[in-house]
């Protein structure tokens, strides 16, 4: 029997980063309100950058997030390098890609195993899951530790990296470091296979809503750094034209800005990358996708976690390849490439675990005079709400707690990093 009246008010969704509320109001079977409220305080990172030396930007902005710190640092460095005419060396590009895989693995393992799997295995959180299925949680910890160690070997430490700088690195992994990491990555393949097998067994909710998917793209690799902005609705844009894609606006119930491109909303993240860049995935990742029944173009947002599992396979295999390349060519001490000028404007973009991240800086005489950071979760908020509006009417025959769980799982599927998304307001005192 249809539920005529439903009122859901989830304050502080659990197992996401930051604070978000789900507010749904159905009266007489009609959806009156369906909001994802973001009540977090704006964090003013762009304002913090103004007046600071360009060398500090990556260190300040990596503090936006404790999960995507390397992603923020990389986007920040690329923005600064483009502004100041710095072209990183081949070695720097290779090390950044390998470093990035470490962070992608760490974040995806955290989400797939510790934030989403408890829902699918009927556990309220990872602690009861650890008691019920210790081998699953121990596997996740082993994989996370390897990912963190990879980051530490390349950039000093994972959270808030210290060895990444404009024009290169200030620390380099030894040959023994790379050989050790390569062997541990190879040894982790059974854990990766077990992860795919786990998601073959777990049943993600069936819900479909067509939307626009956006990701960075390159013709010759599964793109995480640089490239062009590409949409499944057609069209590519240079990174510098990011504002034409993001089109930020404000809504009353959110302290994070909203984005839209060719429709009312779009999605970024692992599922978007999978849909945009499937052809460039490692063959083993394509096999994993087939095994868990994920095919492009997939329009079920709950499958974002499945796409993360596919990316775990890709990142492990590509990290092994990158170790091989670095070992074959050797890693030598390189002084960072120095800027050719001290003034300019640049935009850096990376596809971080939760989606496409943009940093844009204006630098004058070596000091940042303007900054704009557009974070993946902010880009996804309109899409999550559009999914909620489509999903709620299909759930009205269920009990309120079942509706609530379905909506919480939907929000969690996006792996939102809400604190990152509330960076935004430009305040003028007049």
């Amino acid at each position: 029997m249809a539920t005529a009246n439903v009122k859901i008010d989830v304050h502080h969704i659990t197992r996401v980063e930051g604070h978000g509320n789900i507010v749904v109001d159905v009266k007489n079977g009609q959806l009156k309100q369906c909001d994802l409220e973001i009540p977090e305080t704006p964090r003013f990172f762009e304002a913090m950058l103004r007046g600071r030396p360009y060398m500090e930007s990556s260190h300040i902005t990596s503090r936006i997030c404790g999960i995507c710190a390397i992603g923020h640092a990389t986007a920040s460095l690329r923005a600064t390098e483009k502004a100041l005419g710095v072209e990183p060396t081949e070695q720097t590009v290779l090390l950044r890609k390998l470093n990035f895989h470490g962070e992608m693995l760490d974040s995806h393992i955290l989400h797939a195993y510790m934030l989403v799997a408890p829902d699918l295995l009927g556990a309220p959180s990872v602690v009861p899951l650890a008691k019920a299925a210790p081998e699953v949680v121990l596997r996740a910890l082993r994989m996370k530790k390897l990912a963190g160690d990879l980051c530490a070997a390349l950039c000093g430490r994972h959270t808030h990296p210290i060895a990444m700088t404009v024009g290169g690195f200030t620390h380099f992994p030894s040959r023994a470091d790379l050989e050790g990491l390569r062997q541990r990555l190879i040894d982790s393949r059974p854990d990766v296979d077990a992860t795919v097998e786990l998601y073959q067994k777990l049943k993600l909710p069936a819900f479909e809503r067509d939307t626009e998917f956006i990701a960075l793209s390159k013709p010759d690799e599964y793109c995480y750094i640089d490239g062009v902005i590409k949409s499944t609705d057609g069209g590519t844009w240079p990174i510098e034209d990011y504002r034409q894609v993001t089109n930020e606006t404000l809504v009353k119930h959110s302290s994070a800005k909203r984005c839209r491109n060719q429709r009312e909303s779009y999605m970024v993240g692992a599922l978007a990358r999978f849909n945009v860049n499937f052809d460039q995935l490692h063959p083993k990742a394509k096999s994993a996708a087939a095994a868990i029944n994920l095919r492009p173009k997939c329009v079920n947002p709950y499958m974002n976690t499945a796409a993360q599992v596919v990316e775990i396979v890709h990142c492990v295999e590509d990290a092994i390849r990158l170790c091989d390349v670095l070992l074959a060519r050797g890693v030598s001490w390189e002084e960072p490439v120095q800027p050719g000028r001290l003034s300019g404007e640049g935009t850096g973009a990376c596809d971080v675990p939760r989606g496409t991240l943009f940093h844009n800086y204006v630098i004058q005489d070596g000091l940042v005079s303007g900054a704009n950071c557009i974070i993946p979760t902010g880009q996804n908020l309109n899409n999550i709400e559009a999914d909620m509006r489509a999903l709620v009417p299909t759930l009205l025959d269920k009990r309120p707690e079942e509706i609530t769980l379905s909506l919480e799982m939907l929000v969690r599927a996006y792996d939102p990093c809400i604190s990152c998304s509330t960076h935004l307001l430009h305040v003028e005192y007049v």
């Binding site: 980063e17 650890a130 949680v137 430490r157």
Partner: protein, 183 residues
Amino acid sequence: MGVETPSSDRAEHPGRAAPTLVLALGNTLRGDDGAGPAVLERLAACPIPDGVELIDGGLAGLETALHLQHRQRAIILDAADFGAAPGTWQRVSVDALHLAAPEGFPGLHAAGLREALLLGEALGILPPDVVLYLIQPQQTGWGEGLSHDVGACLDPLCRAVESELRGGSPPPGDEGTPRWRIS
């Protein structure tokens, strides 16, 4: 004896993990938060008995639980604000800690020592004997180096840990029912 950084994977293998672990936690770029690693550095210069591994665990995350796996004993060195005079230190058994948070398991995006111990307990991988040496900081702001009072406690604290590692009587500590809450 040298200090291992967390990059090794020895602790994940039963045959390779030393029975006793001394694990320092803290950020050496945040003033007195680096007290644990500073004690560890002094210990590394001492003649430590066989079967003891020293690890600088940096900033604790969930993976810290893996360091504790396959051990008989773990001694954790960490800065902790417990309202005492700077440089005061306290030996606390894990049994004297409130691990469960009243609001449930906290966010995984900012997991620290408490979450690692909680997870380790749930996984059944905590050593039978886990003690913490908690050091009261004076300041944990930006910058390297310890305050005078915290620096002054390093030698006696190092001697206490070294004595405990050699089987001597540990200093008086809190072994009782949970009275300490860490976060």
